[in-house]
Subunit: 203 residues, 2 copies
DNA sequence: CAGTATAGTAAACGTACGTTCACTTGTCAA
DNA sequence: TTGACAAGTGAACGTACGTTTACTATACTG
């Protein structure tokens, strides 16, 4: 029962991430699982309910990942507390882990692609997508850099611009990884750029 | 006649850019223009024909823009000829113009958002999107940097990594600009980062 | 063992889709 | 003036959609 409900969620997520919510039919989801669409309504109230469950799952996952890597919780709301123990070297590990998370983790990668397809449909979806992988991380890093500058753990500069500079390669390389046939190892490129950044801004 | 056909194209493009091709109905497009859907088929063979015309228009536009700014033609195929007269200062102007083009030009901005919504639906759409605003520009810049290094117009380094470093802020700021309520001027941030890059890599 | 959820099927519901067609209108050249 | 053509209407086509319903088989629980 719970197993079937979970299979529906993951199957639907994969389809939504490729074609978008509206372009995927309930019949297709059910067919992919070898069942009829009627059975699907024993587990979810309607099509939108499947989608909403994914979003809820994503919010839950985000919190647990932030805790796992010891970073101050984002929860898609930036807080300026708890930055005291973070330095540039630790930030590097977190950044590489973030890349792997958004490209290799099946759920995270799928939800990211799905939300990128829904981001213009409503103000709410746009906000969620932005806070998850666009302006959210930038805002977060800017606050982090400001805190590090104030406590002498980093040279002083324009925190917002530096946040854009630091985060943008991660964002671009994630987008590039959606396309296969990439010859260069994106993780090596990312690591090189992070090292270069650290070399220029560490005290 | 030609005027109506053009209005249909632009109206459909705006709708496709917000909701995606499949989620927009022919009735909605016609209704937006105050006509019935039957009339629409006097101008386009079917719904897909409207979409294909947009793509063709985009390829045409890309060529003319590349010529306008005096850059060697991309045409979504990277060529290593014609890089001789380009230097880092000129590249800065081109980069700022590119940002304005992809965010302010109505057609370019709409087609970019539409293709981002279609990029996972087929291998072909993914390739077009990538070559237009993701790996295409990176490849192009890498070739450009290599040529500049070989002729002593730029310090020597890893061209591909530098291309990612140079292009990624542009790509991220374009994505951020899709979300309003941005307080900082993205063009100023971009210009600052480009200046910083030039300062580090000019001979 | 009887009874009651649970998880599934198959068919039907009304609605909306993309597309076609017969028909009407206006324009303009022969 | 007439006749062809371009552009639009509105209804109809068949199909597919999301959802509901009546029914069935299975499995746990008193």
């Amino acid at each position: 029962m719970t197993d079937t409900k979970e299979k529906i969620l993951i199957t639907a997520l994969h389809l939504f991430a490729r074609d978008g919510f509206e372009a995927v039919s309930v019949s297709t989801i059910a067919g992919e699982l070898g069942m009829t669409k009627g059975a699907l309504y024993k587990h979810y109230a309607n099509k939108r309910d499947i989608f909403n469950t994914m979003i809820q799952r994503m919010f839950d996952l985000d919190q647990s990942v932030a805790q796992k890597y010891g970073m101050p919780e984002q929860n898609f709301n930036v807080s300026t507390d708890g930055y005291d123990s973070v330095d540039l070297a630790y930030l590097k590990n977190f950044t590489l882990a973030q890349f792997r998370f958004w490209t290799e983790d099946d759920f995270a990668s799928s939800i990211r692609r799905m939300l990128s397809l829904e981001q213009y449909r409503s103000e709410e979806m746009g906000r969620i997508y932005q806070e998850m992988v666009v302006s959210g991380p930038v805002q977060y890093l800017a606050d982090l850099f400001r805190a590090m500058m104030n406590t002498g753990r980093m040279k002083v500069g324009d925190a917002h611009s530096l946040a854009v500079e630091f985060y943008s390669p991660l964002y671009l390389l994630i987008a590039m990884s959606d396309n296969k046939q990439e010859e260069r190892d994106p993780l090596a490129v990312l690591e090189g750029l992070v090292d270069s950044f650290i070399g220029r801004w560490r005290v």
